[in-house]
Amino acid sequence: MKSLTTLLRSKLFFLFLIIISETITAQNIISGIVTQKNGAPIAGANVYLEGTYDGTSTASNGSFVFETSENGVQTLTVSFVSFEPFLMAADVSHLTNLTIVLRDDVNSLDTVVLSAGTFEASDNSKVSVLKPLDVVTTAGAVGDFIGALQTLPGTSTVSEDGRLFVRGGDALETQIFIDGIRVFTPYTPSTNNIPSRGRYSPFLFDGITFSTGGYSAEYGQALSSVLLLNTIDEPDQEKTEVSIMSVGAGIGNTQKWDKSSLSVNASYINLAPYNEVFSDRNQWHKPFETLSGETVFRKKFDNGLLKIYNAFDTTNFELTQQDINTPEGVRFQLKNTNFYSNASYTGSLSDSWKLMGGASYTYSKSKFDIEEQAIKDVENSAHLKLKLRKRFSNRIKLQLGGEQFITKFNENFNGPDVTEGYGVQNNISVLFSEADFIFSKKFASKVGVRAEYSALFDAVTIAPRISLAYKTGRDSQVSLAYGDFYQQPDMGVLKFESDLQAQNTKHFIANYQYVANNRIFRAEAYRKEYNDLVRFDTPTETFNSNYTNGGDGYAQGIDFFWRDNQSLKEIDYWISYSFLDSQRQYRNYPIKATPSFANTHNVSVVAKYWIEDWKSQVGFSYQYGSGRTYTNPNQLGFLQERTKGYNSLSLNWAYLISQQQILYASVNNVLGFKNINGYQYADTPNTTGDFARQTLRPAADQFFFVGFFWTISEDRSDNQLDNL
């Protein structure tokens, strides 16, 4: 027994020896220091051998030291927030006294952004000028997302139109995209002096990018501007929404399943009761009435997301408007039916390849009756797009894509003496490619090119685009952009004449941006050169006009934007100022002149005040636009006179009755400024040789709105504030 014990003891001793010696021989020491590029130490970085438990955190001087029992070649990993992870494979015995320099992670928030020309409204972007909610809580916008964008610099105040006029461009020079796919008829139909609105309800979108110039090669057929709307990827919860408004009612429902969701909404607007209470300058025979519905279906796949968006709406109204040439007024009737369908898929093919594909189809039918004339327009349009994106590294990305636009337009004109029918098919095939280079956190660039082939003109256009951004300080940066942009003449021209070519602009943009502590300051100077604009030799487009691409022009100016959510408690405000100098010779302009939609000075001031005790948000918005040009035939010249300036102050008040019930009221132009949009002159002079005129005033000086919004959901926390 004793011998056994001795034996065991010796064995035990032996075992001990083995363990100890093994530990001794196997313990390697790994040491070094971790710093930034400029040599400053990084404290708290995680340093370890991959796949093992051996590692440590760096000390305050950046140094680290730890022991490992691993042998041979191992991978040393160093990681720290806001830096790219560092990996190094080497024999552990060599991993001593290392100096490891971590590279900045260019995906982090303080990396330079290519900001020339671009405003973003989203939660996810690095610099968000507007928040998604602003789009719907801006006083004066009355739930129209276009209205909120009109408070940004670079837009002109053309209040009777309602569409976006960007940097001296007309409304047709801005294109709108939903989930990257073109929208062909984004605005509700309207007539003279009655502003149109964005067709789509703002609460379906959670990201809006508004570019006033110099945009990506992915987008084309827009001379001045693009507006990119992204629908929500995944709704939060199942809910039913009811709204009762002074002008109509709406209902919506969202259903969620494991991998998919469906949102449906419908609304009915009828201005008859409103017009009864507040009469305006028009004589309404059939007040504005619109019925609309939208559905969004989303389905998640393992590596991608499919979204299908459908919108239908039908609008009709009939009225008589004052006209200087027709004492009894001009009777106008409109019926429009619009259907839009958009399907898009985004997904990853592998770690570095991403695919985005989509298609949209638009059917729009309009019937206009103007006195004795009846016009019927039918537009069928489609857009197909496929895009691939390759990520070579965090610093180099390439995208390639192709798209096809198909538009078929037919018009029937029935007059007392004439019956005419005309149509045009306009197909455009496009290839584009663009590369992003992030050289460092401070310096980035985007270079792209876009080639378009027009079947109608049998011509190719090549449009290069480039932008650069450089960070000048911790919170400031400068960006430059240049680009060529082409756009086909619009259907109003193409339906009569197709022997033309694409119109062109060149954008030169320099931007300075300062972002810190919930404050944003932007200043942007630009010059835009227009070439090959369409001209014709009759007062408006007709079938026997002569059309050429002989027009040209320019727009230049400077835009300022300031937003501050910090200095004043519970108050969030922004101020925009735009200076614009623009002249052009196009359409029937006999000489180069400033168009009536390009006023020199535009100012917007928007403020929102949250009153905690009242559970209310009070909003205020002031808009100023300097006078707009018009032609006075009693004087020599063309577009030689200017109206007085435009002023409007709007207020809104949103009161949260409970988590799910909101009462909302708004008044546009509270102070009742008597604004003048322009003048209409008689076609023929009166007996004294003067051309008589009438003032074009808004249909109503003010607009009142009251609505009650109620959300019914299982958990009672959601509400429709984002629906206002």
Partner: protein, 209 residues
């Protein structure tokens, strides 16, 4: 015989040591955290996570520490970098353990951090998300005290905000407290916190009128 016993104990403990590298690591990480070195603890959890590729717990704790210590952070860059990191670890943990109520409520806490950071900007968009995460968690684990507590506290905040009575949620907090008494975590390293918070709420917010 005695020697054999010693030997057996010794061998057992040797093998024990080698088997519980994980336990040692986790224990050390918790100690670091307790000793006010949360980021070092997070680093250690991260190291354990990359060695134990099928265990959600270390991932969960990396995310949890980054979220907890983001509250009160004023530097936008640091705040978002920290939360982005937490997001990656929540996603990784979810990939290992789907429909895990503990991860779901951590996910809810992630959104709550954004709301706390800028309520005006994120409140409306993220509060629905938080609510639906708690809804899902409570369906999966109606008797998990942390789920009951988290949901109750969230609803309490909302009710307070709208000037509604918080009494119904105090009842839920009390229920959570009684659930804590009988709650048995699956292991020493599974989440087992929150009891103190429940008492705090009952003694403070729920006492006030």
């Amino acid at each position: 015989m005695r020697t054999l016993f010693i030997l057996a104990t010794f061998l057992f403990s040797v093998s024990g040591i080698s088997q519980t590298k994980y336990e040692q690591g986790m224990q050390k990480a918790f100690d670091l955290w307790k000793n006010e070195k949360p980021m070092e603890a997070a680093n250690l959890f991260e190291r354990i996570a990359q060695a134990e590729t099928d265990n959600w717990l270390p991932l969960y704790y990396v995310a949890k520490i980054n979220i907890i210590y983001s509250f009160g952070e004023k530097d936008a860059t640091k705040f978002s970098a920290q939360l982005e990191k937490a997001r990656d670890f929540i996603n990784d943990a979810t990939a290992i353990s789907k429909d895990n109520p503990e991860i779901l409520i951590l996910d809810a806490l992630w959104y709550t951090a954004w709301i706390a950071y800028d309520g005006q900007k994120y409140g409306m968009t993220y509060s629905g998300k938080v609510t639906s995460l708690y809804e899902k968690a409570i369906q999966l684990a109606p008797k998990n005290p942390r789920v009951v507590l988290g949901k109750a506290e969230w609803e309490m905040e909302a009710a307070q905000y709208f000037g509604k009575p918080i009494t119904p949620y105090c009842k839920d907090v009390a229920r959570a407290l009684s659930l804590f008494a009988t709650f048995k975590p699956e292991s020493d390293f599974h989440p087992n916190d929150g009891e103190g918070r429940a008492k705090e709420l009952l003694n403070n917010s729920c006492r006030k009128k």
